[in-house]
């Protein structure tokens, strides 16, 4: 008995846990454990009602520490720390035990086993909690400045939005000009505004805003620092000259956009004269001098092949299995624009699923009414494109909508409706330690809980670098990153997790192994009473614990997960239940 007063709550999570773990049995098992003052089960521990109940229990029973066994700490650590705080406990004397992702969901076929495992996990959590010390968050002042990486439409709008919140902004663009893909676009769906005009409007405002500094021909070379206070090194190319500057920023908004899919030679006839990609065709339509022409020849018939470079069969090497979201609507819109140029233009669309979602459906309706013909091709039988001896092209397919006859479409032009692919930004990924998903796009922490944040503090992502998006969706995401930056930086300070490494200076002999092990440059060598010892830069430390096992003197430890705590957790897990 340590004299601690611990409250333990085991969650049913509706049926998510309760269907596979006998939660009441778990409670029964641990409720006699040392220092456990109260042990209960709850339907949804995260619900407000149960939160209130915990607060009440804590006050009535004088709890000084809390264990909640529920889902992944990723979901609810912050939630229950707040509960602990409201209940008058130190929020860092709370332990979240994961009995869902790491127990009920993985053992759906073995309720007895899952229940026993849950009991052991909870007991480990109790043991850890018993040894917790009250900790205080590390308060750091934040820098009211942001760095935006990428000067496409999302980055431009984000820069402007940040400045409008009163933050100082640095915008870094790799190219010589701002505007990214959209700057090169003519009329865009759904409002028929020219991409070039949109970008010009934004660029003018950005350039005119004294709070925004724009660096073109520039790249982010290095980033250091910690939450709310980063030092970014920007390299600016001026001809052969290279200038490097350093800026202090509180957040970094990554808006590096996408690349167009480049079909392989021969893919749907790519490489044949007259086979073009959607962006190429759009440009052709945008720049058409009155009539639609290809290499000086009038275009009378166009065949579109959809999902080129998207929704690819997963068995292909490096397949893009995702849907690129924007291309259906973009192709439909381009066809409408083309039809305006030549009323008698014959257009054939070979699609799989027409994904003109939401209000974009109206464009598809308009396109069909304007004369475009839509043919649904089988998923497993892609159309074939051939060059005819006459010089024209022939697209062969089967149309599922009209009795599956094989149809040969003669076409002057074949447009491959290409999708978006992740841009190769290996250097930036390495500088910012950006998390990259299986599809090659950057990953947010959680699409609903934290949709623009990455696992790297203060590094936000938005726009098409995260996933294929339309222009206005990318702008919305850019503004959402503005909002997140504002939520982090407007207050002027931030509270950081104090569960960081610590060095027992009396034991330390400064061998440097801990500094070598630290991925965050969070350990420095200092002189103390004439001795060289290691010291943790608390604001930089992420609490990964990498420095702890390498210390030959056992002079490093991780607050919240001390060696003693880890050992007690292992003991807890090994403990055999009395029943």
């Amino acid at each position: 008995m340590s004299g601690r007063r611990i409250g333990v709550y085991v969650c049913q999570c509706g049926g998510n846990i309760g269907d596979y773990v006998d939660v009441d049995k778990v409670v029964e098992e641990i409720k006699g454990d040392d220092d456990v003052v109260i042990a209960r089960s709850a339907m949804f521990t995260c619900s407000d009602a149960t939160q209130q109940e915990i607060v009440q229990d804590a006050q009535e029973q004088g709890l000084d520490a809390l264990v909640v066994a529920s889902c992944s700490p990723k979901l609810h650590t912050v939630t229950f720390r707040d509960v602990a705080k409201r209940a008058g406990m130190n929020p860092f004397q709370y332990t979240q035990v994961n009995v869902r992702e790491q127990c009920s969901w993985t053992h759906t076929d073995d309720k007895t086993g899952a229940t026993e495992k849950a009991t052991r996990l909870v007991r480990a959590g109790i043991n850890r909690t018993r040894l917790t010390e009250p900790l205080e968050p590390i308060v750091v002042e934040t820098t009211p400045k942001s760095l935006v990486v990428g000067g496409g439409i999302a980055g431009l709008r984000a820069a402007l939005g940040l400045a409008e919140l009163g933050l100082t902004v640095f915008l870094v663009e790799k190219e010589a000009r701002l505007g990214g893909h959209v700057a090169g676009y003519g009329p865009m769906f759904p409002n028929d505004r020219k991409g070039s005009d949109l970008v010009a409007t934004l660029e003018e405002k950005v350039r005119a805003n004294p709070a925004i500094t724009v660096f073109t021909n520039a790249e982010l070379m290095a980033k250091s620092g910690s939450f709310g206070n980063n030092q970014a090194t920007i390299a600016i190319h001026d001809g052969d000259k290279l200038e490097t500057i350093q800026v202090d920023v509180g957040s970094i908004v990554v808006a590096t956009g996408f690349d167009d899919y480049e079909p392989a030679a021969g893919e749907f006839g790519y490489g044949l004269d007259g086979v073009v990609t959607l962006p190429e065709f759009k440009k052709m339509v945008d720049e058409a001098p009155g009539l639609l022409q290809y290499k000086g020849r009038p275009v009378k018939t166009v065949a579109y092949i959809y999902c080129v470079g998207s929704r690819q069969d997963e068995s292909l090497e490096g397949a893009h299995t995702y849907c690129s979201r924007y291309c259906c609507t973009s192709a439909v819109h381009t066809a409408l624009e083309a039809q305006k140029l030549a009323g008698d233009l014959r257009q054939y669309h070979l699609y799989r699923d027409m994904r003109t979602y939401g209000k974009y459906e109206l464009l598809w309706n308009a396109s069909r009414e304007s004369g475009s013909l839509y043919l649904r091709v089988p998923d497993d039988e892609p159309p074939a494109v051939e060059k005819l001896s006459s010089g024209g092209l022939k697209v062969t397919t089967r149309d599922l909508l009209t009795g599956e006859e094989e149809i040969a479409i003669p076409a002057d032009l074949v447009v491959l409706v290409t999708g978006m692919v992740p841009r190769d930004n290996a250097e930036l990924v390495s500088v910012l330690k950006l998390p990259v998903g299986n599809d090659g796009f950057y990953n947010e922490i959680h699409p609903k809980l934290r949709p623009v944040e990455t696992i790297v503090d203060g590094v936000l992502i938005c726009g098409a670098c995260q996933a294929p998006k339309t222009s206005s969706e990318a702008v919305a995401a850019g503004l959402a990153a503005v909002t997140q930056s504002g939520a982090m930086l407007k207050r002027g300070y931030a509270e950081l997790d104090p569960m960081v490494a610590t060095v027992y200076a009396d034991l330390c002999t400064w061998c440097g192994k801990c500094r070598a092990a630290c991925p965050y440059d969070a350990i420095e060598q200092v002189e103390l009473d004439g001795r060289q010892v290691a010291q943790v830069v608390k604001t930089a430390c992420k609490g990964c614990g990498g420095c702890v096992p390498v210390c030959p003197e056992d002079a490093t430890d991780l607050l919240g997960y001390t060696d003693a705590q880890i050992k007690s957790m292992i003991d807890g897990m090994m403990e055999v239940s009395c029943s």
Binding site: C13, G14, G15, N16, M43, F44, C46, S47, D48, A49, Q51, L75, H76, T79, D82, R157, E164, L165, G166, M188, R193, L198, L202, T321, Y322, C323, R325, D353, M354, R355, T356, Y357, G358, K359, E361, L362, L401, E404, P447, K448, L449, P451, V452, A467, S471, S472, E473, V475, A476, A477, G478, L479, A480, V482, T483, Q484, G486, A487, K490, R491
Partner: protein, 913 residues
């Protein structure tokens, strides 16, 4: 929160878009007011099972945001509140008018223990379970509700209760009977009046005329249910008087003159409040008209005795045989206030020749004599009753019972126009009374003693102004031989000696709202004020008088508005629209026994059996939702029920507005060929989400018609979307994905079930979405391209779908499934533009009635009104991640708007004035 309050931002709606907006603005340090119309924050997302494409539990994602929203130091949340209007101040700021709808709960006291919910016996469709099951009138929206506080759903006063002049909670006691809580039902009536038994027999039941069930098969037997609970109470071994109840006396004394319905009711109410009440009754027995006017076959004396014992049990003294001529003088006897409730006991004369003959008498004295057991000597006599009202009928039927050789009745009005109730006329006829309707008395003949009456045809009873002014055809006459004439020509108040101001008809002048007379300590109530009327009206007056006398004696202002302050009566059409179908439930037949020649005063109407009472009460439609039965009040351990809660108007000055009003789901019955609402096993996507949710109503996926576990489920995509026939050409964006999600969950929950999706295009558009769709295919979900044209139902409740099988040659095909899920799409939420009505610039909507975004390309979420932004699906169909990002966009601009205003204010402040 009273008066005008100031916030940086108003967020309308607390779905995922609203919560996200509020939280981010709050995190930035802005003060935010969130107004949510439902009882809980969370919107639609919290009601879902899991969410695509991660299959996160919707609760797990929503609940922390919900809790964070209401616990955020910078956010105030009003739930169960409506924004009535938002007015531009002209400087980019806005003033919002908000109504906090009454929750009828003291939210600070409520612990969310659900005792009220368990005690409540009203069931209405549970909107939080997509109407799959029912919920109570007292309820907590759903298990994860935030705040987790009860709300009592009061749509208004039920029409029955609203119709009762006595203020008896008719719906309430009906609901109590339904639960078998007869004593509590009795107590509920007793709250209003001691006359539970008397009203259960002799009330003319205006409640039943207003009963909404009357629009279907016929009204509930509300009066007879009251009789049932009185019979149950009085019959429960309570032969003697009820136990005396000790009430702390406040030392003040009130005299009640008259022991009729008004007097008895007032006495009960005053005695409860601790007044020493004495009733002074001129007659030999207490009860007023109940005792003296209503024949025993309608209202037996024992019932009146029982009712009166409810009053005397509280220590009220009744002195009979005491006639008061000078009410004001009672002050000298130590009474601090006096209530005059003497009724109308003076008979109106006919004023025809021969009225003074021996044998001509008034119905009032006749009925009183009969009721008091005096011999009136009618045996073998020919009796003629004069009058067409209920009193005349009572007299005629009493005479019939007393052995009269014949009973004739003359009424000026013809049968249909007689003031007596139709059923009374009918019963009189059934008992062998000869009615001469449309005739008047010319004169009575006799030689000292009455022998006959000469009657003449009445051509018109009232003049064009509606005043009583009979005209006759003097040429058409007849003679009726008679030994006794009983005149029921009306009655009036006997107030000549009171020394109080009277009206022309001898009624007392009293303020209609306070019932106070010109003499401050004298109040008047009942027929002596209103003239002859119904028992319930007199009861209502008695209650009002007691309320006012109490205020008067406590030195408080006599404000008529404070008495009873009811909610508005709920509209019957609204009630009937709550359900698409109502099972037919036959009304209870009358069990009154009609004998051709009755010889005794046995009650004609029999008691109700317990089964009849239950079935009768169970037909109630719960019009007002809450029945006011007070079951919740009885059980609430926190004393948190506040049925007198009323709407509170709130005004807020706000610097910016974020509209996060979300969307509506397409009403599936608007697509009749799919049979939703008619075929029980056709459900909506939201209903399936509820069936799959962790808080699912049946704890399993079952089909509604018979509870069978479905094994062959069909999904019909694009229900209400991409469909000009329902005026919605738009794609709803979310339905493909929520269906695919459900497909996966069903295949987990029901591994043996087949799932077939009838689709046009599968629009799995978003990060990881197409992979998610592919996963459903790989799990075995069958996707059939083709639009379903119609559904028919088989005898077993299965559904036959007709569709074009596009991918297999395009032939028309049929397929049978045992459950059909309609993937309903979204519609714009209503009433958003109206919030800004009255401003110079209206809020612009787009062509499809979503909130318009004026610059979707560069400023998504910005509306045409400066400082007003739209977040999430209020601007168009969006899934959850898109709504959250869109809310982020709205917030960035709302914050920029506030920042501009702040900078401008600071600049202004620097200018020296």
């Amino acid at each position: 929160m009273k008066g005008t309050t100031k916030y940086d931002a108003l967020v309308v709606g607390s779905g995922i878009g609203g919560m996200e907006s509020a939280l981010k603005l709050g995190d930035m340090g802005y003060k935010v007011l969130v107004v949510e119309k439902d009882a809980s924050v969370g919107g639609k997302m919290i009601l879902l099972s899991k969410v695509f494409p991660t299959l996160d539990c919707a609760s797990c994602i929503s609940t922390p945001k919900m809790a964070a929203t209401i616990h955020h130091p910078n956010i105030d949340v009003l739930t169960y509140a409506e924004v009535d209007g938002i007015r531009a101040n002209g400087d980019g700021t806005y003033r919002a008018r908000i109504t906090q709808r009454p929750k009828f709960i003291d939210e600070a006291a409520c612990t969310g223990c659900r005792q009220c919910e368990m005690a409540c016996n009203v069931a209405v469709p549970d909107e939080f379970n997509a109407d799959l099951v029912s919920r109570r009138a007292a309820y907590i929206a759903f298990p994860q509700a935030v705040p987790k506080k009860a709300v009592i759903d009061r749509a208004g006063i039920s029409p029955c209760t609203g119709a009762c002049p006595a203020g008896i909670k008719a719906h309430g006691y009906v609901a109590r009977v339904r639960s078998g809580e007869y004593e509590q039902a009795f107590d509920l009536v007793l709250e209003a009046t001691p006359l539970v038994g008397s009203l259960g027999r002799a009330c003319y039941a205006p409640c039943e005329s207003e009963c909404t069930r009357g629009e279907l098969e016929g009204p509930l037997p509300i009066r007879r249910l009251k009789r049932f609970i009185a019979d149950a109470h009085y019959g429960r071994g309570r032969d003697g008087d009820p136990e005396a109840v000790a009430i702390e006396q406040n030392g003040k004394k009130v005299a009640v003159v008259g022991s009729g319905p008004a007097g008895l009711t007032a006495a009960l109410q005053l005695a409860r409040k601790g007044y020493g009440v004495t009733i002074l009754e001129a007659a030999e027995q207490a009860g007023g008209m109940l005792r003296l006017g209503i024949p025993a076959y309608r209202l037996p004396n024992e019932v009146i005795d029982h009712d009166i014992s409810n009053v005397t049990a509280l220590g009220v003294e009744i002195r009979t045989g005491v006639r008061v001529d000078d009410p004001a003088g009672l002050k000298d006897d130590g009474f601090d206030a006096v209530l005059v409730a003497t009724g109308t006991h003076k008979a109106v004369r006919l004023r025809v020749p021969g009225e003074e003959l021996d044998g001509v008498r008034s119905a009032l004295t006749f009925l009183a004599d009969v009721k008091l057991g005096k011999d009136v000597g009618l045996s073998g006599k020919k009796v003629l009753v004069v009058g067409g009202g209920n009193v005349a009928i009572d007299a005629a039927r009493s005479a019939r019972r007393l052995g009269a050789a014949s009973v004739d009745q003359v009424s000026l009005e013809c049968c249909e126009e007689m003031p007596a109730h139709d059923f009374e006329v009918e019963e009189a006829r059934a008992e062998g009374i000869t009615l001469h309707d449309g005739w008047g008395i010319d004169h009575f003949e006799g030689d000292g003693r009455l022998q006959a009456a000469e009657i003449k045809v009445c051509t018109c009873v009232f003049d064009p102004d509606g005043r009583f002014h009979p005209e006759y055809d003097e040429t058409q006459r007849d003679i009726i031989a008679c030994d006794v004439v009983i005149v029921a020509a009306g009655m009036r108040a006997d107030t000549e000696t009171f020394g109080l101001e009277t009206n022309g008809d001898h009624t007392l002048v009293a303020d209609p709202g306070t019932l106070q007379t010109a003499v401050p300590h004298i109040f008047a109530a009942g027929d002596v004020v209103t003239g002859p009327t119904m028992i319930t009206t007199a009861v209502g007056q008695g209650r009002r008088a007691a309320f006012m006398i109490d205020r008067y004696l406590q030195g408080q202002v006599l404000d008529p508005g404070l008495f009873d302050e009811p909610l508005p009566v709920v509209d019957k059409d609204t009630v009937l629209a709550r359900q698409q179908v109502y099972d037919r439930r036959e009304p209870l037949e009358s069990n009154a026994v009609m004998r051709a020649a009755p010889t005794d005063f046995e009650e004609t109407e029999g008691p109700m059996t317990e089964d009849e009472a239950f079935l009768g009460a169970a037909r109630c439609l719960d019009c007002g939702v809450c029945s006011e039965c007070h079951a919740c009040v009885d059980v609430c351990p926190a004393d948190a029920i506040k049925l007198d809660d009323r709407p509170v108007a709130i005004e807020a000055e706000v610097g910016t507005v974020v509209l996060a009003t979300g969307f509506n789901l397409f009403p599936a019955d608007a697509k009749p060929q799919y049979g939703y609402g008619r075929f029980k096993n056709v459900i909506t996507g939201m209903q399936m989400d509820r069936l799959l949710a962790p808080t699912r109503p049946y704890n399993a996926v079952l089909r509604p018609s018979d509870g069978k576990v479905p094994d062959n489920i069909a999904y019909i995509m694009c229900t209400g979307s991409r469909d000009e026939t329902v005026d919605n050409p738009l794609c709803s964006k979310i339905c493909c994905m929520y269906s695919v999600k459900q497909n996966q969950l069903i295949m987990g929950a029901l591994p043996l079930a087949d799932v077939t999706v009838y689709y046009i295009d599968v629009r799995s558009v978003g990060k990881g979405y197409d992979e998610f769709y592919q996963q459903a295919r790989d799990m075995g979900c069958n996707f059939v391209k083709g639009r379903v044209s119609g559904i028919t139902e088989t005898e077993e409740g299965n559904l036959t779908l007709r569709y074009e099988d596009i991918e297999n040659g395009g032939a028309l095909a049929e397929a049978e499934h045992d459950l059909v899920v309609l993937a309903v799409g979204v519609q714009p939420s209503r009433g958003v533009a109206e919030l800004f009505a009255g401003n110079g610039d209206a809020l612009a909507l787009d062509d499809h009635y979503y909130v318009g975004e004026v610059d979707e390309d560069l400023d998504p979420g910005r509306t045409n009104l400066p400082g007003v932004f739209v977040a999430g699906a209020a601007a168009g169909a969006k899934d959850i991640p898109d709504s959250i990002l869109h809310a982020g966009a709205a917030v960035a601009q709302a914050a920029a708007h506030l920042e501009r205003a702040r900078v401008a204010d600071e600049a202004k402040a620097k200018v020296p004035s």
